[in-house]
């Protein structure tokens, strides 16, 4: 299902290196095709604890706990999962806890599954309504710098920031 399996030039290489450089110790995710390569790199890295969730809101809570305990983490989710997080994000906003999330989009560029479209189209407005700063990236060569900027905004300026990775460049083929 992943067309470009473990491509060494894939953007996930640089993002994983960045995670290490900025001291990411926990990642949490519901498995997702769009971020499969990044997840795999993090799983193979013994310095990062990878946690599989039953639903994405658990990951928001876990990241809050990571920060409370003095560690940095990243939540990896598909756009559909964003719709499961909105209430839990109120804790992030209320406590002004840094939250970095990477969201792989469905329901936009070239989508062939109608059921993905409603949530895909409401992902960004829903995040913004929940006071999350959104960076959208549609070109592979810009993913790294965008995640880097988002990480600074999150961990140094104490904000909730989502990097939205367009379906155009995520790993998931438009299935159908």
């Amino acid at each position: 299902m992943v067309g470009k399996t473990q491509n060494k030039r894939h953007w996930s290489v640089g993002v994983h290196q960045l995670f290490k450089k900025i001291g990411i110790k926990q990642i949490a995710y519901v498995p997702d095709g769009g971020l499969a390569q990044l997840i795999k790199r993090c799983q193979d890295d013994r310095s990062i604890r990878s946690v599989v969730l039953t639903t994405e809101e658990e990951g928001v809570a876990q990241m809050a706990g990571a920060w409370l305990g003095g560690e940095r983490g990243v939540l990896l989710t598909q756009s559909g999962g964003v719709g499961n997080c909105i209430n839990m994000l109120s804790m992030i906003q209320e406590c002004r806890i840094p939250l970095l999330s990477l969201v792989s989009m469905r329901g936009e560029w070239g989508e062939t599954f109608p059921w993905q479209v409603p949530m895909g189209q409401s992902t960004i407005p829903a995040l913004e309504a929940a006071n999350v700063i959104v960076h959208h990236v549609g070109e592979a060569e810009k993913v790294l710098e965008t995640v880097n900027a988002a990480a600074k905004l999150a961990f140094d300026a104490n904000r909730a920031v989502s990097v939205i990775i367009s379906q155009r460049i995520s790993d998931s083929e438009a299935k159908g």
């Binding site: 719709g83 209320e94 409401s122 913004e128």
Partner: protein, 175 residues
């Protein structure tokens, strides 16, 4: 203090729900909806469904509609943040959906933690394609629910009635 107001509007709202043939009422217990929930439990025809999380309610009411029952979901504004992904099913299939949302995090709120979600409620619903009506006066609630029920069940739309915290009068209650 708020108790009397609450009872009077919930009587009228329950009557409206019945008149619109609502058969399933799903809810996560909430102080603002207490009286409506009790009426749903006591009614011989309405099937009350107590949920662990609000998103379950969207799925239940989708199934209800498939089976020929109209339904309503009673929730608090914070619960709106739990249903966003599940709403995509109602949106995609164009299921009618009627939600009565008691607001927190606005008028006279004392718990800061309720404010972010309360302030985001309407925007998040609208981002998900839900038509939002607000009711700020007790005497407007039943009429608004009536209009929302028509829009939901007759015109096949997702509609939320936000019942203002001013009406719900949350101050006397525990958080």
């Amino acid at each position: 203090m708020a108790l009397k107001k609450k009872t009077s509007w919930s009587n009228a709202v329950f009557k409206t729900l019945k008149e619109n043939n609502v058969k399933q009422i799903a809810y996560v217990p909430d102080a603002g909806h207490t009286s409506l929930i009790e009426k749903a439990i006591d009614d011989n025809i309405v099937k009350p469904i107590s949920l662990t999380s609000e998103q379950e309610g969207i799925a239940v009411l989708s199934g209800a509609w498939l089976g020929g029952d109209a339904g309503a979901l009673l929730l608090q504004s914070s619960g709106v943040g739990n249903i966003i992904n599940m709403l995509s099913m109602a949106n995609e299939c164009r299921f009618p959906l009627l939600m009565l949302v008691t607001m927190r995090g606005e008028w006279g709120e004392f718990n800061p933690w309720q404010v972010p979600m309360g302030q985001a409620t309407q925007a998040v619903l609208e981002a998900s394609g839900v038509i939002v009506h607000r009711a700020e006066e007790p005497q407007d609630i039943a009429e608004t629910v009536e209009a929302a029920a028509k829009l939901a069940f007759e015109a096949g739309r997702m509609v939320a009635v936000l019942i203002g915290q001013r009406v719900v009068g949350v101050k006397d209650w525990a958080k």
